[in-house]
Assembly symmetry: C2
C-alpha cells in the first residue's frame, strides 16, 4: 500500500485557497461560519464523496466521511482519523488540513491497494478547533465526547451571531451528535509546531503524552503615583513586583523539569502612562507538562512568588487557576500500530510529547488514541511562515495509512 | 497684610464646580476648549475685573490680570504669579487653581492693606499646563518664553479641532503673546503632590530646584512562539527580558542617588496572549533628578541593562531618549523673598525640590523664579482624593503675598 503524495498535496493546496492571504509565505484565515469556512467544508465533502465515503454532518457541524468496504462489518466500531479545517487569524496552511486530508488520502490508498479492513474507517473534520470565534478551542471534539452539550454549544455567540446561525448560514448545521466513544480508535496527524523532529532529522513522530494545561489569572495591585514626585522608597510599584513574578515563573519552569514550560504570555499595566508609577498589573500565565505533579509544583512556586511579593513589596495579589486540563497518555496499542507502520515503510519514528492542545486531548478520554507529528520548519506555526515539506507530509501520511489499516484489520 | 482665607476658599470652591464629577472626593475634568474650561476662564476674568485688574488674553489663551497701583511705575517690569486652570481627566480641585486664585488673593490682600509696590503685579493663568488635549504639557508657558511659536501651537490638533478653533469657540483666542521675559520675577504656588511636608508637619515649602525629566522609549524584540510547544531553552521571550530591565531601572534609581527616580510606567506586550511566548515588548521610562549628571548615569545604566540582555538573552533592543529637559535651579532672590515672608508671618518653611514638571520650569529660563508648595494629603494628586487643608492653602497664600509684595517693592 502506497499513499499518493501528489493527490494529498493537491488537496492541501486547493484547501489553502479558501481564506488565502496576500502575504509572504502561505497564509489563510478560516474562522467558523465564514465564507472561507463554507468553501473549505464544501470542497472537503466533495472529496469525501469522490472517494465513495458516506458523509454525515452533525448538529455542531462536525463532518464525517465513512468508508464501509464489503470486507467490513457495518456494525463494528469504526477506526477514525482526522483533524480540523479552521485556522487562527493569519494562520498557516498545514495546521489542521494536513490531518484531515492525510486521513482521506490514507483511505484512498487503502482502497487503491485493495486493503480489506474488518471495521469501517471514518475521516473526520471537527468544528472550531482553534477557538477563534465562538469558544476557547476544541469545540467540535468536546461535543463528540459529551463534555459539552449540543444545546449549550449552539447558543455560543460571536456578538449577535450564535454558532447555530453561523452553521445554518454555511449549510452545515446537521443533525444529532457524532459520538467519539463509538470509535474503536482514533489517530490524528498534525504538524509538530516545535523543532524536535528537525533536530533529530526525522520526518515523523509518535506522540506519547499530550501535556496538561493550566491557565492562571494573576492580579498585582500596588499604588499608582506621580513618577516625578514619589521617591523610590515610598512606591508600591505593581510593575516592578510583577516583573519579579515573570522571572520567578521562568526560573520555576527551568527548575521543575525538562518538559515543564511556564509562560507569562499576557501582561497589562494600569494606568500604563510613562509618567505614572504603575498601580496595577494583570497577567495570564500558561503552565504545561506531561506530569500533572510537575504542573502543580510550578503552580505552587508561582503562588509562593506572589506571597513573597506581598511581604517584601507591600502589593496585594490575586491568583486564579481559571483553566486546568490534566496531561493525557496516548494508548500503547495505537502507538505500536504507528511504529509497526513505520517499520513496514522504513520510516524511522521519534517518540515525543505534544506541548500543544489538540482535539485528540478530548478523544483520548473516550477511546484509544495517538497522534502522529510531521516535521515543521523551525517549529513555526500559527503564521504564514508555517511550513512542512511535501515529502514529510507524504511520509507521515504513509505511517498514518499503515496504522489505520492495521487498527481496522 | 493679611490674606483672606475665606475669600480664597470661595474662589477655589466655585472654580471646582466647573467640570465637577459626581464621584467620591472632589473631582473635576477641565480640558482645554471645553465648556467647563470656558466657564472657569470666564469666572476668573470676572474675579480679576472685580479686583480692578486690567485683563489681557493672548493668542494662545493665556490670561493675565495686571494691577498697576498709583505707587507703581507702569513701565517697570512687573512681578507675576499664577498657575493654570485646566486639569487632567478626573483630576483634583487644587492642582492649578490654588496657584491662580492664591495669586489673585495676594493682590487683593496687598490692596486691602494699602501696600504700595513700585512695580505692577500680574496674576496669570496659563493654557493647557496638563497637556491632555493638544500638547504634551506646559503649553501656554512654552509660548510665553518663546520656546514654541504661536503659529505652530495654534495649529495643534485634537482630531479635527485645532487649538485655535477650540480657543475661538470659548471666546479666548486673544491677540499677541504674553512675554514672560518682561517679568522682573515669577512665583507659582502649587500643591506638593508628595509627602515631605506632611512628614515634616509643615504647611508650606520653598522649591530649590525643579528636577529634569528624561523620557525613553525602549523596544525589546524576541521571538513569539507557541507556549506549549516551545521548550524553555529554545525561547527568546521578550517579556522575561523586559522584566529584567524593569528591575534594573529600579535598582539603578536606588543606587544613583537619594533624589533620583526611575519608572517604567508603560509596558505593552505583543501579541499579549496567555498561550503565546511574548515576541516583543515596548516600554516608556521616566527618569528624573535635581542633578543632570545623575539622570545621565541612570540612562547609562538602563542602556547597559539592554546590552546585557542582548548578550545574555538573544533579544534585540532599541533605546530612544525621546524627551529631555535639564533640571533648573530656582533663583536665590525669590527663595529669600519667600523665606522672609515666612519669617514675617511666623510660618516655618521647608526647602525641597519639585519632582513634578510645572510651568515654572519654562519661566525659570527667562527670569528669576521660585515655587511655593502647600502640603497635600498623602501626596495624592491627579485624583478626586487630592486634598489640601484650607488653613494650609491660607498659610501658603500668606507667604506668597509677602514674597510678591517684597519683590514688587
Amino acid at each position: 500500500m502506497k499513499i499518493d503524495g501528489k493527490r494529498l498535496k493537491d488537496d492541501i493546496e486547493t484547501n489553502a485557497e479558501f481564506g488565502a492571504l496576500d502575504v509572504d509565505g502561505h497564509g489563510r484565515t478560516v474562522l467558523t461560519g465564514t465564507e472561507a469556512n463554507r468553501q473549505a467544508r464544501e470542497y472537503f465533502v466533495e472529496r469525501l464523496e469522490d472517494a465513495g465515503l458516506e458523509v454525515r454532518v452533525d448538529a455542531v457541524g462536525n463532518i464525517v466521511g465513512r468508508w464501509t468496504p464489503e470486507s467490513a462489518d457495518p456494525n463494528a466500531n469504526p477506526v477514525a482519523a482526522g483533524s480540523h479545517l479552521d485556522s487562527v487569524p493569519e494562520g498557516g496552511i498545514f495546521d489542521g488540513p494536513l490531518g484531515v486530508y492525510s486521513a482521506l488520502e490514507a483511505v484512498r490508498a487503502m482502497q487503491d491497494a485493495g486493503v480489506e479492513p474488518s471495521r469501517p474507517v471514518e475521516v473526520v473534520s471537527f468544528t472550531e478547533e482553534e477557538g477563534q470565534r465562538f469558544a476557547d478551542g476544541l469545540l467540535g471534539s468536546s461535543v463528540a465526547v459529551g463534555e459539552r452539550s449540543l444545546e449549550d454549544v449552539l447558543e455560543l455567540r460571536d456578538g449577535q451571531t450564535t454558532l447555530e446561525e453561523a452553521l445554518e448560514t454555511m449549510g452545515f448545521r446537521g443533525e444529532g451528535r457524532i459520538d467519539a466513544s463509538e470509535w474503536d480508535s482514533w489517530l490524528e496527524l498534525h504538524i509538530e509546531q516545535s523543532e524536535r523532529l528537525e533536530r533529530a532529522e526525522l520526518a515523523v513522530g509518535v506522540v506519547t503524552t499530550i501535556t496538561g494545561i493550566t491557565h492562571c489569572h494573576v492580579d498585582v495591585v500596588g499604588e499608582a503615583n506621580h513618577a516625578g514626585a514619589t521617591p523610590m522608597p515610598e512606591r508600591i510599584d505593581a510593575l516592578v513586583a510583577a516583573s519579579e513574578f515573570v522571572q520567578d515563573v521562568e526560573r520555576g519552569a527551568n527548575e521543575v523539569g525538562e518538559t515543564t514550560v511556564g509562560t507569562v504570555g499576557k501582561l497589562n499595566v494600569r494606568p500604563n502612562a510613562t509618567n505614572v508609577v504603575p498601580g496595577a498589573v494583570e497577567m495570564g500565565v500558561d503552565i504545561r507538562d506531561v506530569s500533572y505533579d510537575a504542573m502543580n509544583e510550578l503552580v505552587s512556586l508561582a503562588r509562593e512568588s506572589l506571597s513573597r511579593l506581598e511581604a517584601e513589596r507591600g502589593v496585594e495579589t490575586r491568583f486564579l487557576r481559571e483553566f486546568d486540563v490534566e496531561p493525557i497518555e496516548m494508548s500503547e496499542r495505537c502507538r505500536q500500530a504507528a511504529h509497526d507502520a513505520g517499520d513496514d515503510s522504513d520510516i524511522e519514528l521519534l517518540d515525543l510529547h505534544s506541548g500543544a492542545a489538540h482535539d485528540t486531548m478530548n478523544i483520548a478520554k473516550v477511546t484509544d488514541t495517538t497522534m502522529l507529528f510531521a516535521q515543521s520548519r523551525d517549529g513555526i506555526s500559527h503564521n504564514p511562515a508555517e511550513w512542512t515539506e511535501w515529502e514529510d507530509c507524504a511520509s507521515a501520511t504513509q505511517v498514518l495509512a499503515g496504522a489505520l489499516s492495521s487498527l481496522a484489520n
